[in-house]
Symmetry: C2
Subunit: 457 residues, 2 copies
């Protein structure tokens, strides 16, 4: 293959990536920095080219696992320049009253970044590495796993071509074509499971001087029990809002059919934000209603030939802000295994799927669980009190109590371990909270005694 | 379309079935008897033609739900002629000792039938109806759901053709191409889940005069805890055996690599049957190792255009002998809905999936559950004692206690309801059995008192 013209060391072989999204482009940097020639095929056009049409730029929350993966190839600072720290949740009730909940301690934050912008930056960085070869407009029609051939169709010329690969990394997302080929092999476990909720992206305009009309360094939530809206800040002073809403039912996408219905509904349940959304009804009917899927599968590897990473093997719902972070952590883990096992690709792929699968499953559960927290529990004063108490426990017993949210978001503890720890903490809190009616109760001797017993176990 | 040359009444429209297996061919009879012209496409060649190569003819257990569906189109007697009643389980232990367990009361039996033979008979019956048009060697390459077009490839000529349909019934099995098209629509929930066990078909030869060398009217089980073998009788005096065995591990398909290993293993764990299997090692290496999948999906219908039936929507593992019966019951239920809703196909498809989905899910659970019963619990004297006690309860409280097995196998109680009843019964038995050490204990006043209380609840 023409791309692999550089003489390769015996241990440095040419590699192929299908999918140049967030995970694929980051992975190409990792592999190229190890000396491999890397060809990356991508179905879509180059998003950096003029005239590229993309959906509304949705925002993602980058947190510690993602940062570590970016820093692993030395591009953390590059990304930090376009990221907005969000230090806390701001909850908006139906009367426009605000409550807040810090995400972590001191300066801990999650970071709002534009998916499209981040992808473009990663592609620029990948392209700057002479060992990375990006090939856009290459739709994957099929993968012959045994013959190790990719069948691609060039979207511009319509030409079909077969490309041989020795090792293929499938980073082509929740609707992965590489995974579809693996799904046809025997004993491939697979599920795609949709929520009865959809989502709709909306926009909060910047103020006249480009200022933020809601608190800038926060993630905003309008929790409404069975549904919610959230908003994340953009650099230009606008916010990206997302309404998570049932497809069917009394209050649902199906029930809002006219601009007047949409306007009335928003004025009733999100009154403080309606004045900031001048294009509300137009956007509502113009923007598509997205669906929310969880994808689980196993195995992730086909011999030492093919491996899936990111959404291709573990697409999750967005409510913990961990989809991209989990995919980036895949790159970190794979890179560690490459350090450890050298050129024993069989061991690398096998260890990768054995280590990552339980963590991906735990993260899928956590993401589903957090939807209820965001749309419902954060509106409950008892829940917010419990979170304050947990924060006091954490301060009193450093190293012995890190909240589930912090373990997931601000640590590199494997997701499955974090989930188990979180479930243990929740059991303790269920025993403790009946004795606590206010923050001051935390210092009562009875509570302190109970807590000391529980922590000592 | 040329097939639909008969003038159709307004309410009798031409229909299309993809898949002429057991469910597709039976369904064609149901639809044709209602006056519809029915075109049935089938991927494989006509299995009734000379030279047709099929795998070993595996056997299925036909029970009441299946019989009702066959009788609904008047073909019960036709099939009964080639079916062998099995009145009980016969368990073979490692020393060749036998124990037995009746399936039901009196003459209740499940019936051993050859899958291939049954399929051929159903095809003969379908073809005898002038409204049924069978088209073999038609591989479904894709379905355009919105345009209502099937893309077919003729396996003999290699020609591709597009066939319009107004209504399509997908009965093309666990690896359904119709379902694959639906899987690409938004919000289609789907899972395929494999056991860590595979299966291998083997054969017990007939005796010299065509006699059965094991008890004829029984299903034979060699329960061995983590694995098992079963055997069902054929009309020619032979038995079809199936070994259900882990793929990997100490005792597994992976561990038996040579004829000597296979022979030694069978002589150790199935000593009484080895003399009846002269071709054991040859068959073992010649016959493929099958895998065991459970397929769940939803929705089963696409508008009023397409609906899935049988394994295409609910493939299950074979351990309750209900895969075919559940698929045949789909035909019964659909036919009842056609009676009820006339030409309101939207209501028919919607009611069909709403009624059948929970029952298919329950049956999938039951089938997985019964694997443990067959390979392990039937070898436990306490389990067999419990089953005898349950049979006494059933006799003492007629109409109030029908065993789970009987509800599934000898009734038309919806599977989900049977499963719930069975779980309640199991809870009662857990309270009762500690008081029972032998069959005679059943008549003790304490036991009778407890039982009366439990049944009265």
């Amino acid at each position: 293959m023409a791309d692999f013209s550089a003489p390769a060391a015996t241990s440095v072989e040419p590699l192929t990536i299908m999918g140049a999204g967030l995970v694929g482009s980051l992975l190409s940097l990792y592999l190229a920095q190890r000396g491999h020639e890397v060809t990356v095929y991508e179905r879509r056009a180059d998003p950096r080219k003029a005239g590229f049409v993309e959906g509304r730029s949705i925002n993602l929350a980058l947190s510690d696992r993602g940062w570590r993966a970016l820093e692993g190839v030395g591009i953390g600072d590059e990304i930090r320049r376009v990221a907005i720290p969000m230090y806390r949740r701001v909850m908006h009730d139906q009367q426009g009253n605000l409550t807040t909940q810090p995400y972590g301690q001191d300066n801990q934050a999650i970071y709002s970044v534009s998916r499209a912008g981040l992808n473009r930056t990663l592609l620029d960085l990948a392209e700057a590495d002479p060992r990375v070869h990006l090939r856009f407009n290459q739709q994957c029609l099929g993968v012959d796993l045994r013959e190790r051939q990719l069948e691609l169709r060039d979207a511009e010329t319509g030409q079909r071509a077969t490309h041989a690969f020795r090792r293929l990394f499938g980073t082509d997302g929740a609707y992965s074509a590489v995974r579809a080929a693996m799904q046809r092999t025997d004993r491939f476990n697979y599920s795609q499971s949709y929520l009865d909720y959809g989502y709709k992206e909306l926009n909060i305009e910047p103020g006249p001087g480009g200022e933020w009309l809601l608190e800038k360094n926060a993630l905003h939530i309008w929790p409404r029990g069975q549904y919610m809206m959230i908003a994340l800040p953009n650099l230009d002073g606008s916010f990206n809002c997302t309404l998570f809403f049932p497809f069917e039912g009394e209050k649902s996408f199906a029930a809002l059919q006219t601009p007047a219905q949409v306007q009335a509904f928003f004025e009733e349940v999100f009154p403080d934000v309606v004045p900031l959304m001048p294009d509300l009804t137009q956007e509502y009917f113009q923007n598509p209603t997205g669906s929310l899927v969880t994808v689980r599968c196993f195995p992730w590897a086909f011999d030492d030939d093919v491996v899936l990473l990111g959404d291709a093997s573990h697409a999750i719902v967005p409510f913990y802000g961990q989809g991209m972070n989990a995919g980036f952590e895949d790159c970190t883990v794979l890179n560690e295994l490459l350090d450890q096992y050298g050129t024993d690709w069989h061991a690398i792929f096998e260890q990768f799927q054995q280590q990552r699968k339980p963590n991906a499953d735990a993260m899928a559960e956590l993401a589903l669980y957090n939807f209820e927290e965001m749309r419902d529990r954060v509106a409950d004063p008892r829940f917010l009190l419990q979170k304050k108490i947990e924060s006091k426990i954490s301060a009193q017993y450093p190293g012995k109590w890190l909240s589930l949210y912090s373990q997931v978001t601000f640590s590199h503890t494997p997701y499955a371990e974090a989930w188990r720890n979180g479930q243990r903490q929740e059991q303790i809190m269920r025993r403790l909270m009946p004795h606590i009616q206010s923050e001051a109760d935390f210092d009562r001797a009875e509570v302190q005694h109970l807590l000391a017993q529980e922590v000592a176990r």
